[in-house]
Subunit: 346 residues, 2 copies
């Protein structure tokens, strides 16, 4: 049934990752017009860019000149500053915005989503409220009353946008819906695997950032590749253990076999902002809040934020000692524990 219903897609978000995804989706809905409406609205938080409105520039140039310059989005991607208007008539919603904006977006969307609409979350991170941790698929699902899948993988946005080879994983409880999502994103160079593990796919993308901070410590200390590989391995097992302990139903294979697990972790430990800022933390001795200002325009670094949230979560459950790598990242970042003591703790 699902496979026959035509999807009208809207993209909620238009940052670097959202624009990269819009680039793929814009092409695919044209090529696969038997399954998708060919016009895609993209909600774009309105801002000025060189004296003009960003949505106007995008709709004229078909390029997000601010967040993904140099990549065409296709003339069928329509930037729209009004969120409820952007999703009007849509029955397939891609959520791809920074996690701090999710709550506000849901406020605006509540009651306005068509029944039967499918959602997919491309949001990195987890939602922490009152000592509980939720994945964003669940948050969206609960707020909007829709089924919500998750997409995550070794997906540096610029590389995906340039159509360099990448893989990703979609977790979706209904495999027919999963396959339809896959056909919306997949290209020759962007390979999509599907499974039913919404939890594992989402958690992989959040937890790997903590491990990437530890990998950045190793780089900052100028330790070797053996140490870095060890930290990645230990981190991977801790991610998997955490997911299995606190999110029953998670599939261990998602962590050790899928792009959303081991591959995303590797990418993040090779490049990525968490690794880079952690390296700078060791080399400069500056605290993370200062590095966030200097290196990230004041944006929060997800790895250390997540480490802090997990620490509170684990402490409340008396489980701090069982997650030594996560705990070490928290303590090095916030409590002044010396970074070169890493291997004594993990």
């Amino acid at each position: 049934m699902v496979a026959q219903e035509k999807w009208k897609v809207a993209i909620v978000g238009s940052g670097n990752w959202g624009s990269a995804i819009a680039h793929l989706v814009g092409k695919n809905v044209k090529e696969r017009s038997d399954r998708f409406e060919t016009e895609v609205h993209m909600w774009c938080f309105e801002e000025e860019f060189e004296g003009r409105k960003l949505t106007e520039i995008i709709n004229e140039k078909h390029e997000n000149v601010k967040y993904l310059p140099g990549i065409t989005l296709g003339d069928n991607i329509i930037a729209e500053p009004d969120l409820p208007k952007a999703i009007e008539g849509a029955n397939a919603l891609i959520f791809v915005l920074p996690h701090q904006f999710i709550g506000k977006a849901c406020d605006q969307l509540e009651g306005k989503v068509k029944p039967g609409t499918k959602g997919i979350s491309l949001i990195k991170g987890v939602d922490v409220k009152e000592g509980e941790i939720h994945i964003f698929s669940e948050v969206i699902s609960a707020r909007l009353g829709i089924e919500c899948a998750a997409l995550s993988g070794a997906n540096i946005a610029d590389e995906v946008a340039r159509e360099e080879f990448s893989e990703t994983t979609i977790g979706c409880r209904d495999l027919d819906v999963a396959k339809k999502w896959a056909s919306l994103f997949e290209t020759e160079k962007f390979r999509v695997a599907v499974n039913r593990d919404v939890l594992g796919v989402s958690l992989g993308g959040a937890l790997k950032n903590i491990v990437a901070v530890a990998a950045g410590f190793v780089d900052g200390l100028q330790w070797g590749n053996n140490a870095k590989a060890a930290v990645i391995r230990i981190g991977l097992l801790e991610m998997k253990r955490f997911a299995l302990e606190f999110f029953p139903g998670t599939e261990p294979e998602t962590f050790v076999q899928e792009s959303a697990g081991v591959a995303d972790l590797i990418t993040s430990c090779l490049g990525g902002r968490n690794r880079r800022c952690a390296e700078a933390f060791v080399k400069t001795g500056k605290p993370f809040d200062q590095l966030e200002k200097e290196m990230l325009n004041g944006q929060k670094l997800q790895g250390v934020e997540t480490a802090k949230e997990l620490h509170i979560f684990l402490k409340a459950r008396g489980k701090v000692e069982e997650y030594p790598l996560f705990t070490f990242v928290y303590r090095a970042a916030y409590e002044g524990v010396r970074v070169d003591e890493l291997t004594a703790h993990i």
Copy 2:
């Protein structure tokens, strides 16, 4: 019983990795003299170095000036050019020599090994004969009539020798013996895990070299980190699949959880000669045999050699198509398939 018997250790081999291991073992047998005799003989293929015999220099300077300069081996490591003499009285043999010398070494040792002697193989690679593949632990076991364990992990020799943090895995069917081996090698910075999976531990160290070649192709093509992580992930699954299909009894966890699996693979895909030569193969267009002369003093590059051997093995069994990454490395190295077609094949 095993734990109480004192081991007299001999090291069969004294190259870069053998000397790094001698550095650890020399210290440990002194500190753990309740379990080990404190003098360790190390077989050293005699050669001239700056006009003197290498064994003489090692025994005078306690340093392998040719293969591991700058690292002290301890005055209890005695270099010995005569192999049967080197193992005289020993009941614990560490095999750590290039795989092409194993046959000759066994020729000299046959009938001279004390009954009940324990062996451990630190040899990388697999033995291919008459279309069959064997791990070196089995080869040694069969030739010398002794139990033989395996040690492998994310262990770049120079980093281990400099006592930078590293992990390794020992596979040994008898876990008591495994633990005794662990106590011979383990230091604060060289962490040893044990399991019963001699096959998995050995195969990890051999198969990862093929994947490292593919990772080097990605680097040579200047593709991004997404592609590199994808190749590592796909390669890891192919390694595991190969081991489970052709070596029944292998534990899948060894590949996805242990240092001998995922971590060694990551190290090899970050640094290492296979990755480096494969990158040069793409960038210079020179064939591998020329690169071996220029970059490896004529030594064979294990990744492409193993790819070739596996290809013959898989072809004989009609399984070539089921191992697309291994097969691609073979075809790119030997049959002129264009490297930039990698992602079309895997």
